[in-house]
Symmetry: C2
Subunit: 418 residues, 2 copies
């Protein structure tokens, strides 16, 4: 059997599973999710043994300490995975809800109803807990999922998926609701991305290279979770203490994630009052600072920022700083160099806030708060499959609703078109 | 200047225009749309002269009578184009409306606000009136548009776009809000489809070949308007007179459009009572009938339907008919062979209706009405840019709302993440 026909069979099985899943009640789906959680707990030792094989192979292959850390399934991480499944079970099911309904003058009753997307393929890298996270969110929304994890976590992913399938099966989960691509052949990703009519959506989660490759080869819709080059703009009318706290939080709270700040923009009129204190705070936290010429005048330790800095997602304790003349210049900088993810203004000037909210073209735009809040949990969505940097279908945190689509149901009494 | 750099410049100009457009009030946009309509009226003779060049070139090139008809801009069609612009001006503007808003326990106020998508590229074939229709809907929703029409309508499209730009400019339309790709080079489509970061969405409108080519080469999101293989299922519990009227309407009212019926499914228990009368009605209307073995027994004129018939969009006075054993068999046939566009059940049995509505995986699912109603106007959306057969972002008729996306605005009082 060729890879192509193997993958097509997998797609066909997913389509059949998706049709069965669309008929499941919320209660039934939740009991299946709970059974998956129980089975992960029951198979904890097996999962950790599989994980130990991945970790030892990774160590031999020379994976970095950071990658080995991401790979490891400690007791705490297994517990978190189980808790994640139970949390998803407890969330409100969006499937079947009416988004809107109206009647037409000819008597037709139209409803726009939330339905599953169908078959979702998810391509991801190292962290094996994604297997449980992604599968549970797709299952909750009655989407069949085809998972393709990184080869460095192959044994771990297989063990987790097996436990979920076995737990689910006991409670009547449709066969093939959750499938895992186990072949290491990289062409499997291309097959998934080009499976028109079977795969309804492909979500690549990982580095820029993976996302670019998948979106270029894809014939099916893709939702991209790209980098976050997030800004905080300290306006002339900012409350300086608030600006200090927000900026420090946005940069230092967790620098390795996509909603962390990478560039600080400062209004020229507040620079002298704000920047020296801000620089002290960042230096105390060990942040490497790079600035434009005006910024460099404030501290000898500030290195020059190049054009490249404005478009770099450091994901690290590094920050670029630029002084700008007004709100419009801040907006223009963000729209030009940013990644349309999350950007904030700190100001007490309502007019400046309004312009910033209206004109910054990003998934989440903040006034007087840290960009670190761009997150499904923090937004109150309960869980997220990622943060979309695309504008189509889903933008920003993607929760359960964003894993659904809709259809129109139209009820009549014999209406025909004249 | 290479085609690539020409197209990139066009994309850059569109991005700048989109930012300007996002600031326009609804009133301003409407006055610009009205000015476009006035200018098309004022330049009617110039537009018709350009159209005459296209028609005469088309005649020389041997275009079919049907294609020449679609190409021609008669007085009535120019009037319809002008009326279309005024109708779009009169529609409610979705941009800036709040989709939902909520407060978080930490005091953050979150709003999900409707915003323009940005830059939309539209690839279309022969009918030059699409130039005005598509440009006006994109303009109304503050999206910059890049149009690429068929070469057979090149002079007509250029004349219409010029009139719209000149009319709009007088009322302050941002430069490059509407751009038309005038080069006949087919690689221009590839450039548009791969312009990541500039083109936010590409919509191919036309034949299957065009849509397939664009979606395979695209690196940016695509919304496809594919074929409609629409079904009517006459259930055992159907009102026969209603079923006759609905089926005749779905097939014969306008057979050349995507929401016309291509396959009639009939419950075995009602076949003897329903089919002879239905066949008479179709024969009287000149419909060619193709059926499965059971159906063929009802009339010698019914040709055998092959497997290929079930997946064919005739767009013509041809119909395939199949007798099925129950509702589930009808649902399975539709989900297997259909195109997920529009499908109807005729029944007085609520349980059958409910199962059909729930399980048929199509953009629009009907009970006791003709599939011909799948249309932005008939659904009350005011206008449509097409009917999406995709599931992501927009499904079914795409009106103004579907030409927008959203962003989250978050207002705080200094919140940071702990």
């Amino acid at each position: 059997m060729t890879l192509h026909s193997k993958m097509i069979s997998m797609g066909d099985r997913a389509v059949i599973a998706a049709r069965e899943m669309a008929k499941l009640s919320a209660k039934k789906k939740n009991s299946i999710l709970e059974a998956m959680a129980d089975e992960i707990t029951a198979q904890k030792e097996t999962i950790q043994a599989a994980n130990a094989r991945d970790v030892s192979a990774g160590r031999e292959a020379g994976l970095s300490a950071a990658m080995l850390d991401r790979l490891e399934l400690t007791d705490a991480r297994i517990d978190a995975m189980v808790k994640g499944l139970l949390d998803v079970a407890a969330l409100k099911d969006p499937v079947g809800t009416t988004i809107s309904d109206w009647n037409r003058p000819n008597g037709l009753q139209i409803k726009k109803v939330r339905v599953p997307i169908g078959v979702i393929a998810i391509i991801y890298e190292s962290r094996p807990n994604v297997t449980a996270d992604a599968a549970s969110l797709c299952f909750k929304t009655a989407n069949a999922v085809i998972l393709r994890g990184g080869k460095e976590a192959a044994y771990s992913n297989a063990a987790i998926a097996k436990a979920m399938r076995e737990g689910g099966a006991e409670k009547g989960m449709p066969d093939n609701a959750i499938q895992l691509v186990e072949t290491p052949d990289r062409n499997a990703v291309r097959e998934l991305a080009q499976m028109v009519g079977k795969v309804d959506l492909i979500i690549p989660r990982g580095g820029e290279g993976l996302i670019k490759a998948v979106s270029e080869m894809a014939w099916v819709p893709v939702i991209k979770h790209c980098k976050g080059i997030c800004h905080t703009f300290v306006d002339a009318a900012a409350d300086i203490d608030m600006a200090l706290d927000i900026s420090e939080n946005a940069k230092c709270h967790r620098p390795g994630v996509c909603n962390a700040m990478e560039t600080l923009l400062v209004h020229r009129d507040i620079a002298a009052a704000f920047l020296p204190r801000m620089i002290e705070r960042f230096k105390a936290r060990g942040v490497e600072l790079r600035g434009d010429e005006d910024t460099q005048k404030f501290d000898a330790a500030i290195k020059p920022a190049t054009e490249e800095d404005w478009t770099t997602e450091y994901l690290d304790m590094i920050l670029s700083i630029r002084i700008v003349d007004n709100v419009q210049a801040a907006i223009d900088h963000i729209n030009t160099y940013g990644s349309h993810h999350s950007d904030a203004i700190v100001t007490t000037d309502e007019k400046a806030a309004k312009a910033f909210l209206a004109e910054v073209d990003s998934a989440a735009v903040y006034v007087n708060a840290s960009t670190r809040f761009t997150d499904g949990g923090e937004f109150g969505m309960g869980a997220e499959i990622g943060i979309s940097t695309d504008k189509l279908h889903a933008r920003g945190p993607m929760g359960l609703e964003e894993l659904t689509t809709y259809k129109f149901t139209v009820s009549g009494t014999g209406q025909i078109r004249e």
